[in-house]
């Protein structure tokens, strides 16, 4: 009888501890996975950055890296404006804004209608989406 009481007591303690540990988790945002392909003039964008910015609310932004023409990011669902940037080194052009240093300079080659004056939009469905693709052209 005494063993039973001890076991019960310990089990109760364990229960309380586990409850207090899992008690309150902070209210986070539920983000959904979005992925797809990005091409520029028919070629996959090798390296760059893509950003979704919510049209409504506090216009929160979600960004992801583009690698070998593919991107993946986590975003809130809803209407988004999309910005895409990618850069390359300009051969023979150097920056000397730091003394004792001469380093290659780059340029961002994606037209501004895809970033600073973006016309791209996307709709992220609840639960996320695959193959939200963007086909960009220089013309």
């Amino acid at each position: 009888m005494r063993t039973f009481a001890t076991t019960l007591l310990v089990a109760l303690l364990a229960g309380i501890t586990s409850l207090s540990l899992t008690g309150c988790s902070p209210p986070g945002m539920t983000l959904d996975k979005v992925s797809g392909n990005i091409t520029f003039d028919g070629q996959p964008v090798e390296e760059g950055r893509i950003l979704f910015r919510a049209v409504e609310g506090d216009q929160r932004a979600f960004s992801g890296a583009i690698q070998n023409g593919r991107y993946e990011l986590e975003s809130l669902p809803g209407k988004m404006t999309v910005e895409i940037t990618a850069s390359r080194i300009i051969p023979g052009k150097f920056d000397e804004s730091n003394p004792d240093e001469k380093v290659p300079m780059g340029e961002m080659y994606i037209p501004e209608r895809y970033n600073s004056k973006t016309e791209l939009t996307a709709e992220v469905p609840a639960g996320g989406a695959k193959d939200v693709n963007f086909t960009l052209t220089s013309e």
Partner: protein
């Protein structure tokens, strides 16, 4: 035959049950211990930021203004790229260190021209209280072109950008005389010009260092030479721990857990900025101009966070 009775013995089952329960308890307790460790680290980080806030107040008492974010570079001057960090040294009990630094032109005039040239034995000294214990990279070096200089986790608030920003315009840029917050290039702001009220305006916060070593220019906290490339400050244009990358002259690495980065120079990208980041679960510590510290959640309303970063936008913050 009767078993001799020497008091009551435990049966095998009883022992197994007890062992099992102890096992479960330990399994439950271990994560709690880890959480307690992080809580202790966060508490120390909060204290560091508090000391920084007090140092700023004491600086203001003496000089009647806050220090500049970073100094405007001018030819013929010593200590080009000096920033707020070097100004508040006497107020965080580092008066001797500041003297050592400010006398360096008598030791080596060439090195003293630009502070990123200053030798490791001076620039590499780690000032206690400028590293966040939750950042595994800390205490770090870098952010100012080489591994000579100490890199800390704390930076002042340059501003808050605008709501409808795009990453190609200068809405978020921190490298200008007045980016809208409490600190800017060569600008010494006073309590009086904090029109939104000292309890509604951000003073400083923390950032993530992308590795203990590895040169680069402009990563947050690169006090020794990185200031004009972004090191001196953060902007509240995006919420804490955003997935939008920091954009500095050059990154230690562009991919880093919780702290993506863009190479401004090699990428031909305009504007320089850092965002508030940390490894504390769920948010960052932020100091307000009144000296108070609060933990700001990653999910804070972006507009509120932006308004807090600007010192005179005339907007109320509401509940946050």
């Amino acid at each position: 035959m009767k078993r001799p009775c020497h008091g009551r013995a435990f049966t095998l089952v009883e022992l197994l049950v007890v062992i099992a329960i102890i096992g479960i308890l330990i399994a439950l307790l271990l994560p709690a211990v880890q959480a307690a460790r992080e809580a202790a680290r966060r508490s120390q980080c909060t204290n560091n930021l508090k000391q920084l806030g007090l140092a700023m107040h004491n600086y203001h008492d003496v000089h009647k203004c806050f220090p500049y974010g970073h100094k405007l570079e001018a030819t013929g001057q010593y200590y080009r790229r000096d920033c707020w960090y070097h100004r508040i040294l006497p107020f965080i009990e580092q008066e001797a260190y500041q003297e050592l630094y400010e006398n360096h032109h008598t030791v080596d005039a060439y090195e003293a021209e630009y502070i990123h040239r200053i030798r490791e034995s001076v620039a590499g000294i780690e000032v206690p209280g400028m590293s966040c214990p939750s950042d595994p990279s800390s205490p770090a070096r870098g952010g100012g072109g080489s591994d000579n200089g100490f890199q800390g986790n704390y930076a002042v608030c340059a501003g808050g950008g605008t709501l409808n920003v795009t990453t190609q315009v200068n809405d978020m840029n921190m490298i200008m005389e007045d980016p809208g917050g409490m600190f800017g290039r060569n600008k010494e702001i006073t309590f009086a010009s904090c029109l939104d009220g000292t309890s509604n305006t951000l003073l400083a916060s923390e950032g993530i260092i992308r590795g203990s070593r590895g040169g680069s220019w402009g990563g947050l906290g690169g006090y020794w030479g990185g200031a004009p490339h972004g090191s001196y400050a953060f902007t509240s244009a995006e919420p804490p721990n955003t997935t939008v990358p920091d954009r500095v002259y050059s990154c230690k690495t562009t991919t880093w857990l919780k702290a993506p980065c863009e190479n401004g120079n090699a990428g031909g990208l305009a504007g320089r900025w850092n965002f508030a980041r940390s490894y504390h679960p769920g948010g960052v510590n932020a100091g307000l101009v009144d000296g108070s510290i609060r933990f700001v959640s990653d999910t804070v309303d972006r507009i509120t966070w932006q308004n807090a970063g600007r010192r005179q936008d005339g907007k109320t913050l509401g509940e946050w």
